[in-house]
């Protein structure tokens, strides 16, 4: 696993260097959150749908083994090959093995956060396989040698000028062209050629149905279908928590997914795969990669209910102002910050602190994951396990000393107020993190407590 060179706070500082850019990023995501609100309010049963989805997913967590076994049996009956991978390395080897067996060295891929989590592209490229991401946003970040910065909107951190320059360099579009219509058309032509010439296609899985052995893939662009239906071999990769018990349950999840993600009532394409087409091979790779460990963590297992809609990111005041890349994890934002420490506590110890604990993420989550509670609980686990830097720990200890002793607290407040009045530069300087992007307030003449003692009669 690669070492993190900059923690979330450090990377956010860099992201915040350009103020108009951060404002634009913030507003763009807030706009998506707003579309989600409008769309969800059209359904009077919205809250009941969330509760229902959450309890179906809870049933899934408590019956995962039998549901997976039934899914596997049905899929095999349907003529689909099923593979199991304990970790990222096994997953990547299975995919490479299938491609080698068919002597294929070029593959198209539609969106799969799991393959990002497994760093599959890097692995395949090292082994001589040319992987083309076909979702427009993913193709853009792939050409830039970057990971996606958002699970639903992979290139949300980029301006159209960036993409215009990128396409000019790689796809030969006119220099300086930034019209989204024109740039998208160029990508369509470029990728159509890939779809028509690649013999293997890899897709993610949004939902896998235990009852039928089938799986559903949702896209707006149609890239998963273009790839899968033209290829000789279709490989679908899924984290094992993607299971739902019955096909009818899709009614609940498909109503929630797109509305929560972008405010659309449904994605353009909700493709239900069950059997390979004649002459085609279909493979499913079921991946654990830490999920069974998370299942055993009582406080954190609910994170496995996630359907990857991205609503928690769009609403998060920290995500909107720090960008997806600052989370140095395949899944960014609030949900990523409770999934990441499970994968690697020491590498991701900063992420549960990248939150104000305002609770907005939990309020928009379509499967009612208690995201902000889990962030709070991870902090405690991480401090106890010694993964939090000394400075932060010392600060928390000092804070606790002050706050737990009323007299000491009153005294510190008085000292603080007179210092701010007498020598304001002591707090109005770059060493004070509260001074960043803001002026310190005028210190009040007296504390509320002093005022109350005087006035309560």
């Amino acid at each position: 696993m690669s070492k993190v060179t900059m923690d979330h706070a450090g990377a956010s500082d860099v992201f915040n260097a350009d103020e108009p850019y951060v404002n634009w990023h913030d507003e763009t995501l807030w706009f998506v959150r707003h579309k989600r609100d409008k769309s969800s309010k059209m359904l009077p049963e919205w809250e009941e749908l969330r509760t229902t989805a959450s309890s179906i997913k809870h049933y899934v967590l408590s019956h995962l083994d039998t549901l997976l076994e039934s899914f596997e049996a049905k899929a095999k009956e349907n003529g689909v090959h099923v593979h199991w991978a304990s970790n990222a390395a096994e997953h990547n080897e299975i995919v490479l093995g299938l491609l080698r067996k068919h002597k294929i060295d070029q593959m198209v891929k539609s969106k799969s956060m799991l393959t990002e989590e497994c760093h599959m592209n890097e692995f395949l490229i090292k082994n001589g396989i040319d992987v083309i991401d076909t979702d427009l946003g993913e193709r853009i970040v792939q050409l830039r040698n970057e990971p996606p910065s958002h699970i639903v909107l992979p290139a949300i951190h980029l301006k159209k000028q960036d993409i215009g320059d990128l396409f000019h360099e790689h796809l030969g579009t006119e220099a300086g062209a930034t019209d989204p219509q024109y740039l998208t058309e160029a990508a369509r032509q470029h990728l159509r050629d890939k779809f028509l010439t690649r013999r293997a296609a890899l897709t993610g899985v949004n939902f896998a149905i235990a009852e039928t052995g089938g799986f559903v893939v949702s896209t707006n662009e149609g890239n998963a279908d273009m790839g899968a239906h033209l290829a000789d071999i279709h490989i679908a990769c899924m984290g094992f928590e993607k299971i739902i018990p019955r096909q009818e349950h899709l009614g609940v999840f498909l109503r929630l997914l797109a509305r929560s993600a972008t405010g659309q009532p449904i994605t353009t394409y909700s493709s239900h795969f069950k059997k390979p087409r004649e002459g085609q091979e279909m493979h499913i790779v079921i991946v654990d990669n830490g999920r069974s460990t998370q299942l055993g963590r009582e406080d954190f297992r609910n994170s496995l209910k996630c359907i990857r809609c991205g609503a928690c990111m769009n609403t998060c005041p920290v995500y909107r102002r720090s960008g997806g890349h600052s989370y140095h994890n395949a899944v960014a934002g609030p949900i990523g910050s409770i999934l990441a420490p499970n994968l690697d506590m020491s590498k991701n110890a900063d992420l549960p602190f990248a939150s104000t604990l305002c609770g907005s993420c939990s309020n928009v989550c379509p499967v009612k994951i208690d995201i902000h509670d889990q962030l709070y609980k991870w902090r405690q686990v991480l401090v106890k396990a010694g993964h939090v830097p000394g400075g932060k720990k010392a600060g928390i200890t000092a804070m606790s000393t002050v706050l737990s002793q009323p007299r000491f607290y009153q005294w510190s407040g008085r000292i603080g107020r007179s210092v701010m009045r007498a020598v304001p530069f002591m707090v109005n300087n770059g060493l004070n993190p509260w001074y960043k992007q803001r002026e310190m307030p005028e210190p009040p003449k007296e504390s509320f407590r002093d005022w109350y003692v005087k006035n309560r009669k």
């Binding site: 229902t52 909107l153 993409i163 998208t184 058309e185 279908d225 009614g251 059997k275």
Partner: protein
């Protein structure tokens, strides 16, 4: 131990106590006019819904709409005179030059404008995606209210099927909506009383 056994064993050891599935997981939308709602949902994704009484009117409409277009394909026997592109090919890659495909589909969903199409009505799965322009023909009486109702009627046991709601689109460049990402650049839905 195989990865499969290891994973299943870990899950057994770590899973929470068993809970039950919720008894109720469907909701009624009770639209007073499902066809109007369906039309409105599709208008929001740049798709026109056209009501035609039967085959003759359908033929007249498509003759008008796709006048001058070459490489026209259809899965509807009554329209075979109109088509100039045969779907009787063995390799789906050969469909690449199709300009417009008019396809029989099964039913529509009012709440989101989604239309179900499957292997049952398709000689090639890639057809609704690879064609430059797409039209569906569905029975006017087939529209259901919402996705719960959709899965109640979805008894399809074929190998593949898809809900399609509108033309292919993307907003990956600065959230600007662009129609025609990889799949069809346009969609038209014909509601037919009888065919």
């Amino acid at each position: 131990m195989s990865a499969r056994e290891k994973i299943l064993q870990q899950i057994k050891a770590n899973k929470p106590d068993a809970t039950q599935l919720p008894e109720r997981f469907t909701f009624n939308s009770n639209f007073s006019d499902p066809q109007a709602k369906f039309t409105e949902s599709l208008a929001a994704v740049y798709t026109e819904v056209i009501v035609v009484s039967g085959t003759d009117e359908l033929k007249y409409k498509i003759g008008e709409m796709y006048d001058g277009v070459v490489n026209r394909a259809t899965t509807i026997p009554e329209l075979s005179d109109w088509a100039d592109f045969s779907l009787n090919v063995s390799d789906p890659h050969e469909l690449e030059t199709i300009e417009v495909a008019i396809l029989q589909a099964e039913f529509g969903v009012a709440e989101n404008g989604a239309i179900w199409i499957s292997d049952k009505y398709l000689p090639h799965r890639v057809l609704p995606f690879i064609t430059q322009n797409l039209a569906f023909v569905i029975p006017r009486k087939s529209i259901v209210d919402n996705m719960h109702d959709a899965y109640k009627v979805l008894t399809d046991t074929t190998g593949w099927g898809c809900f399609i709601s509108g033309p292919s689109k993307t907003a990956d460049i600065e959230q600007s909506l662009v129609i025609g990402a990889h799949g069809a650049r346009s969609l038209v839905v014909f509601l037919v009383d009888s065919i």
